[in-house]
């Protein structure tokens, strides 16, 4: 048997023994959605995460949602009532939230002229990633006659320690190296741009409160230093995000209180001249990751070479990261259960696989499931709310696309 990640807190069995989500067993939702494979997003869990963020963080911190983590339309519409802005990564994402009258920003190293034009027309703050991009943006803005709101994505001279994905302290496709930022600010001011400030993203998926606070503090210090050189007080600073969630055995959830207290302490050191600067934390995975459950039905049970294989109607085409094939160096098991038999003892070692003709398509590697696991049972993979379906090759082998649905019992 190999280890798997822990089931996120609060997922319990329904009276019928199946996994319960939003006061109903999974079968209820599968019937409503029309079948499996199904991504189910629990709205109350998202609301709870936002509430936890608000309770722990200093009140001046604005919360933006990183749409790339999960761009499912109904989820975005619910999110619009919960957060203070949307952070976007493409003009496709602009279109997904264009009907919401919230602050928007767009970042990303490969913006085209079409992207710039869409961003300007949507009133989004454009986070430029290079001097060349700044110049092209100014050209587009002049051409269409819109004064651009611009922030500079800074490649910081530090990184988020212990992050699943480091994005600072190195040569990088993301952002302008800090030492060249003052010249770029001068250029933007000279071009009569609406210079908004900075975006510093040092890494993502960190489970260390200390590392996150250290990166936030380093970001504030960097911004103060840059401001000393430019003389321009930034209207806003995106402190990045990086809040991780536990996927694997031995990982534990972040304490938001520790981060909030650390950030509050760091803010005391911020000069009074930044009193009106809007401070933003941008989160995706932490807000929605644990709210999502991927449900896939067992189509076949077989034995081979002394091992049991449960083959499902899902697989890597919907949940690439859970198969260990999306940036992971070693494959480890996400939390996996038999959602039809949550109250039965998980005492039998099995492999849970997808339906693709590749050994990569492994959703659970020698995980413990109930002995009675059988064809027709529903397998649940947790932590499926972020970087799930859209981060997976869903056309691979021309299999049916997964369904997506909000689990909400009210409203």
């Amino acid at each position: 048997m190999k280890a798997m990640g822990g089931i996120p807190a609060g997922f319990v069995p329904a009276p019928n023994g199946a996994l319960e989500i939003e006061r109903h067993p999974v079968g209820y939702w599968i019937e409503k959605a029309g079948g499996t494979p199904l991504f189910l997003y629990d709205v109350e869990r998202v609301e709870a995460q936002v509430a936890a963020f608000r309770a722990a963080m200093p009140s001046r911190i604005a919360l933006h949602y990183a749409v790339k983590s999960n761009p499912f339309g109904p989820l975005l519409d619910r999110m619009a009532a919960l957060v203070d802005g949307f952070d976007l990564a493409s003009r496709g994402e602009i279109a997904r939230v264009a009907h919401h009258d919230l602050p928007k920003s767009i970042a990303g190293p490969g913006k085209s002229i079409a992207d710039h034009e869409a961003a300007l027309r949507a009133g989004a703050v454009v986070h430029v990633e290079s001097e060349g991009e700044a110049q092209r943006l100014c050209d587009v803005a002049t051409h269409i006659g819109i004064r651009p709101k611009v922030a500079i994505r800074v490649n910081p001279p530090f990184l988020l320690k212990g992050a699943g994905m480091k994005m600072g302290g190195l040569a990088s496709a993301f952002g302008v190296d800090a030492e060249r930022v003052p010249n770029l600010v001068a250029y933007l001011v000279d071009q009569d741009c609406d210079f908004r400030g900075y975006h510093v993203y040092a890494g993502s998926q960190s489970l260390s409160e200390d590392a996150i606070v250290a990166a936030q503090k380093a970001t504030l210090d960097l911004v103060v230093e840059l401001t000393g050189k430019t003389g321009v007080i930034p209207a806003e600073v995106n402190l990045g995000g990086g809040f991780g969630i536990p996927y694997y055995s031995g990982e534990t959830p972040l304490s938001l209180r520790v981060i909030g207290d650390g950030l509050a302490q760091a803010l005391k050191g911020l000069p009074g001249s930044f009193a009106d600067t809007k401070l933003i934390i941008e989160l995706g995975r932490w807000l929605v990751g644990e709210a999502g459950v991927y449900l896939t039905r067992i189509l076949d049970m077989k034995e081979s070479g002394g091992q049991i294989f449960a083959t499902t109607d899902g697989g890597l085409q919907h949940m690439l990261a859970a198969t260990g094939n999306f940036g992971q160096f070693l494959r480890r098991n996400y939390p996996v259960i038999n959602a039809s038999r949550m109250t039965e003892e998980a005492d039998t070692v099995m492999n849970v696989v997808g339906r693709l003709c590749t050994p990569l398509d492994l959703l659970g590697d020698q995980v413990a499931l109930p002995a009675d696991t059988q064809v027709g049972d529903v397998i649940a993979i947790f932590c499926a709310g972020a970087y799930g379906l859209t981060a997976s090759p869903h056309d691979f082998l021309s299999q049916p696309k997964a369904l997506e649905m909000l689990a909400q019992s009210k409203g």
Copy 2:
């Protein structure tokens, strides 16, 4: 500078210095297609691969195309005139070739009742992967009144040595362990199925002729052994495929002649009772992989931390495997060139990245490109014809989908 794979033979510059494909510079095709990113598939190269296969292989070997490797419609329509059958992996793939009156088979560990019904109605040979599947298939067949054509996917007790992906010799989601096959044959015959034979797939992406021939010979030996136990001469045997193409530095193309000679030798040992058995080799990657070129345009050039970054309008959302994030343990560079400046010396080390907000999105890691490489130039990534767009998360970050097009100057 880091190594990259060699450009497939025969790709040369056009008179204007750009990469030529099918007698035209890439710019011609990009204009015809309507822009970048663009997957361009060179039909003549596919034809040449098929011709090379026919010339080298014993004449009794039938060639099937593995649709999963590239299911682009116009390519399938051309392929229909070149190969002897289609090997399929889903009912979605059945629909893609349903209008072609060629032999079809369907394999895969997670077939649903809907898959079985579609396969039976399409007249496809169903390759069953377990005893349970055989039973469900017979039930569906009885229910809809079609006598099923069935072959057994065998999990062989050997593997394809040196394969990029091993699929035999181990506990496996694929196929029935060889020792249990005779009982399953008896069951199928007893159920009055049209028992067709066997499908043995020992691995894929091998660049060793000896290993491929050894697997083919072991497959024939296994089939003879199984036939000795069952007394049923198989009407057909799918010998698998596994022919690799060079992606990385130091890899060299297979010699089909060596494989063909080895297979001819192995066939001499086949008992006369198998004279009417159809022998099939199933290829995907080897037929189309090198015929595909992924073209993506540079949107930004920048310097960070002493390195140069060329950011393109493509990325891992279209060519996941080229970024090293699809089953590869170590990231290595596919062949990458500046297709706008093929005649200029590649003397400057650069990173070629995609436009996604993740450091995973790296198409060329410190590769040598011409010093004049600039915004607007077209980057070509070779070996993009198989497991490209459909094996990539093309909705990720809601970026525009890549275009696909056949490069054909005639017909």
